[in-house]
Symmetry: C2
Subunit: 106 residues, 2 copies
């Protein structure tokens, strides 16, 4: 049905879910967290009761979108936020026409 390609599709889809935005909030505050750490902090600090697998799936989506980077170390996997995919969002819809006509009427 869609005959075009949108490079930012994964990023927008990843940001669409409130739990994933919460995860990004957590990582923005402290990077290098494991899956269990993230689960714990979401539960205790945000009263969010989700299974480990649910969080794991969210992290996978965030990682595919490039918003989360991971580093493996033994049996641990550390997650960190990467905000670079967010940068093109703003510039995409910044006015290409004159600023003068920004107001809707007149």
């Amino acid at each position: 049905m869609l005959a075009y390609y949108d490079a930012m599709a994964d990023v927008f889809k990843a940001l669409a879910d409130p739990t994933r935005r919460l995860i990004l909030d957590e990582l923005a505050e402290r990077n290098e967290q494991t899956l269990f750490e993230i689960c714990g902090r979401l539960t205790t600090r945000h009263s969010l009761s989700l299974t480990r697998q649910a969080i794991s799936q969210h992290l996978e989506i965030l990682e595919e979108a490039g918003l989360v980077r991971t580093r493996r170390e033994g049996r641990y996997k550390f997650h960190s936020i990467d905000t670079t995919p967010l940068e093109p969002i703003m510039s995409r819809w910044l006015r290409r026409t004159t600023t003068k006509e920004k107001g809707v009427s007149e």
Copy 2:
């Protein structure tokens, strides 16, 4: 299940759909378009074949998110883009900790 409130939820949901992002692209290029004009341009310029109602529903979602503003004039309703709800997106996840530790390893 979600015990918190996210003020930007509507904006992110609105941006999650590729057709709605295309509509914003169109309005960023030319404001003050009617529903029929938007339908026409999506069809001719983007090979997107959706019904008028589908586009109308997308515009409603965009308007509720504050990303589109409308002005009624007789039987016409003109749509324009409003990028102000996008601004908090960037600042939300900008590092609150030191910039030094942005790299994942070391």
